[in-house]
């Protein structure tokens, strides 16, 4: 079965445009993350730190050293490696100026792939990352400064 998705602009910052992924007829991936941890929940502090980290990245650039590779070195899927919090948010780092937010969850295991929920999120981002690279090679999407240009609607196997 195939799923349709769109990469949409989530927020603009001084040095980074932050995008997210929206599957057809669903909330965006970052909205799903926020829905899991609403204001006032016991992870409120963790969400606050994540937002502040994204604000800093937005201001300073999505530099590679601010992220931790998750999965394979050949892909651009990273976790926001925030110390002393229980949540993980996964992203695709396209460049120093473009970041795509995925979903995340509670870190219950040492490695993401030991947790079925986090593993599925990371795998899905790896598929999307691979697709974006192919589309870029084919000239169907372009990276220009902070912008992802072209038709940002795709289909992936679910």
């Amino acid at each position: 079965m195939k799923k349709r998705l769109e990469i949409e602009l989530f927020e603009e910052h001084t040095n980074v445009n932050i995008y997210t992924i929206r599957f057809k007829n669903e909330s965006s991936e970052i909205e799903k993350f926020l829905d899991k941890f609403p204001a006032g929940c016991k992870f409120d502090r963790d969400v606050s730190i994540i937002i502040k980290v994204l604000d800093n990245i937005g201001k300073r650039g999505a530099l590679e050293r601010y992220f931790r590779y998750e999965g394979k070195f050949k892909d651009n899927v990273f976790a926001l490696p925030i110390e002393d919090i229980n949540l993980r948010l996964y992203v695709i780092r396209i460049s120093d100026n473009i970041l795509i937010l995925g979903n995340g969850g509670i870190k219950k295991t040492k490695k993401y792939n030991e947790d079925p929920e986090l593993n599925s999120i990371v795998k899905q981002l790896q598929t999307i990352d691979c697709l974006l690279k192919t589309k870029e090679r084919q000239g169907l999407i372009q990276i220009k400064g902070k912008q992802l240009l072209g038709k940002l609607e795709f289909e992936i196997k679910s």
């Binding site: 927020e11 204001a39 730190i49 937002i51 980290v53």
Partner: protein, 137 residues
């Protein structure tokens, strides 16, 4: 610049302590990175100088590490450059004294009491209150 309403709503309730901590942490790692770049050193070189594993230093450099003062001093020592600066104690005390007096005077105004500009004279802030008001004339 486009902002997301849900993020904006959450931003409103971010405690000041988190705001300052994350900003400062990023300032510190950016400063360390700047020094490494100036000295043409890598994170691996810094790890070697500190007798640490590269993976540990790399973890520090992601932006939210809670550095101990001891670690920062050691990094300053091996790199030979300052990373953090402590604000001069005397100046802070003087400024805090002025603010305390202003606070006390405003409390008096809020209680409907008259105060005299002369009360503030010693603190060289008289000019701020030159404009006549019902309370400060």
């Amino acid at each position: 610049m486009k902002k997301n309403p849900r993020f904006e709503e959450r931003r409103k309730s971010i405690p000041k302590e988190i705001d300052v901590f994350v900003n400062r942490s990023f300032d510190i790692v950016d400063r360390i990175h700047e020094i490494l770049r100036l000295k043409n050193l890598s994170q691996k070189d810094l790890a070697d100088l500190l007798g640490k594993q590269e993976s540990e230093v790399s973890k520090w450099m992601t932006g939210t590490h809670n550095f101990t003062l001891k670690t920062l001093v050691k990094i300053e020592d091996v790199l030979g450059f300052p990373i953090i600066k402590v604000i001069n104690k005397e100046k802070t005390t003087e400024k805090q004294s002025i603010l305390l007096v202003i606070e006390a005077k405003y409390a008096q105004i809020n209680q409907g009491k008259d105060i005299l500009i002369g009360d503030l004279q010693d603190f060289e802030i008289k000019q701020k209150f030159q404009k006549p008001t019902p309370y400060l004339s």
